[in-house]
């Protein structure tokens, strides 16, 4: 589904992604793991067209990144990106007018599940509520590809659980793909099918989570420590 061919991205003298070539399969939950500054967020931003590669090509379903690919991607950035003066309902009305895959029933169910009020003004709610509001807009769609950039960052433990529940709640295995970048590996370990470890802009390790655990007789956290402690795997 997602194909990166020799992708390099630099910001001044900093190399965010260094000649990355990878195929990300369809219909799975994939964790993109790594420490801060390893290139995880840049990778997601490139998939949604917020960053452009200096070299190489990116294809999603065989198409180059553009208006067409954006129509089936649901992107949730780490930062607060919703209009602060909008209510949750206004934000939902705004977002749904652009997407064919908006599911109104799912939206209503999620409003209840996440304990949100449509009349809440985004700038007036807590960080946890804003995180839930972002999640609500991302998951009210039946998007083919969902990109979640640090969805658990700075969120309390109870809200984290709710976020993870939301991620897996309506997930359609085989049909929908979810890419999650995080360094909170413990929380997401149980829901990941595949994992990609990024180190200094390069793929350090990738594979099926179960297989990696079996081969190394270690948890994902331990594998991550191993990957980032030693220069060679």
């Amino acid at each position: 589904m997602i194909e990166l061919k020799g992708v390099t991205k630099t910001f001044g003298s900093t190399i965010a992604l260094d000649n990355v070539s990878i195929n990300i399969p369809e219909g799975k939950i994939i964790g993109i793991l790594g420490p801060n500054g390893s290139g995880k967020s840049t990778l997601l931003k490139m998939l949604v067209g917020l960053n452009k590669p200096n070299h190489g090509n990116i294809f999603i379903n065989g198409q180059q990144i553009g208006v067409q690919t954006k129509s089936f991607i649901s992107y949730l950035p780490e930062i607060d990106y919703l209009y602060p003066w909008m209510t949750i309902q206004q934000a939902a009305d705004f977002v749904k007018s652009f997407y064919e895959d908006w599911d109104e029933n799912k939206y209503k169910e999620l409003v209840e599940f996440l304990e949100l009020q449509p009349s809440m003004v985004i700038k007036k709610v807590s960080k946890g509520m804003r995180a839930k509001a972002k999640l609500l807009l991302s998951f009210s769609r039946n998007a083919k590809l969902i990109l979640l950039d640090e969805p658990l960052s700075g969120i309390d433990i109870l809200t984290r659980d709710k976020i993870i529940e939301t991620i897996i709640r309506d997930y359609r295995a085989g049909d929908q793909s979810i890419l999650i970048t995080t360094h909170e590996v413990r929380e997401v370990e149980g829901i990941l099918d595949e994992v990609i470890f990024i180190r200094r802009g390069q793929i350090a390790l990738e594979g099926n989570v179960e297989e990696l655990r079996y081969q190394r007789q270690a948890s994902l956290v331990e594998i991550m420590k191993e990957v980032y402690t030693h220069e060679t795997i």
């Binding site: 067209g49 990106y81 209009y83 003066w85 652009f98 997407y99």
Partner: protein, 265 residues
């Protein structure tokens, strides 16, 4: 159901308009309060013709504030991080900037209109409705109405052009990570100079020297009546309008292209 182009454009336009709701209400309040204050001054001693100066000054201040708002309507997306949402939407730069242009024009029409309306009412009150009727009659009698209409049309499209220069400059500035505002400022200045040169060159090349300038020449005829003739020919008007439209279209597509191809977060 697949979202239609009209729906997505309307959503963007509504969002752009609502995001300046507070500022617009503040400007509207300032228009009324400003006129009220100066009306009080006139009632307590200032000469009555001052109202003309006051209403025109308020009108131009309103236009200037809205124009400055043109720059912030784009840069606000960055300062609020909402650009992450805008850039992830399945819409092209053309639609993004068309909605912003429509929102600014709506602001100009509503707030400019309110300023003209309040100014006209107060001018009629202080100077008498007769004077307004006389001025209008003067324009009609001396066939200046046509010139006035052509001038207003040119001004309208000229404003669109300047808004597009503002959008273009902001996008050029945003294409750079550092000194974005400085680059925006200089791009705005130099683009205007460049457009001015192109305009002058095309007018010189395409119009006969006698019709070249917009000029209103006043003289007194043998009856002692004020005679006015206009140098704003239809040919000049059409050519100037075509140049403005061509340059505006070019700027619009260039701005959208920079947004689509060069802007990164």
């Amino acid at each position: 159901m697949k979202p239609s182009n009209g729906n997505t454009l309307f959503s963007l336009y509504k969002k752009d308009l609502l995001s300046v709701k507070f500022e617009s209400l503040m400007i509207l309040a300032t228009i009324f309060l400003g006129h009220l204050y100066f009306s009080y001054k006139i009632l307590t001693g200032w000469p009555e013709p001052t109202i003309l100066g006051v209403t025109s000054t308020i009108f131009f201040i309103v236009m200037f504030v809205i124009f400055i708002g043109t720059f912030t309507s784009v840069s606000r997306e960055w300062s609020n991080n909402t650009i992450y949402l805008v850039m992830s939407l399945p819409v092209s730069g053309k639609k993004i900037f068309l909605s912003k242009l429509l929102a600014v024009m709506t602001q100009l029409v509503i707030l400019g209109g309110a300023s003209i309306l309040v100014g006209s009412l107060l001018s009629s009150y202080f100077l008498g409705a007769d004077i307004i009727a006389q001025v209008f009659g003067f324009f009609s009698t001396h066939q200046l109405l046509k010139v006035l209409v052509m001038g207003i049309i040119l001004l309208f499209f000229g404003i669109i052009q300047i808004i597009l220069v503002a959008f273009f400059s902001t996008m050029v500035g945003r294409a750079f990570k550092k000194f974005s505002w400085l680059i925006t400022f200089f791009t705005f200045i130099f683009t205007n100079i460049f457009i001015g040169k192109i305009n002058e060159f095309l007018l010189k090349a395409l119009i006969a020297p006698v019709d070249r300038h917009l000029s209103i020449i006043g003289s007194t005829n043998f009856d002692g009546q004020f005679l006015v003739e206009s140098g704003l020919t239809t040919q000049f008007f059409l050519l100037q309008l075509t140049i403005i439209l061509l340059i505006s279209t070019g700027l619009f597509f260039l701005t959208a292209m920079i947004y689509d191809k060069k802007i990164e977060l």
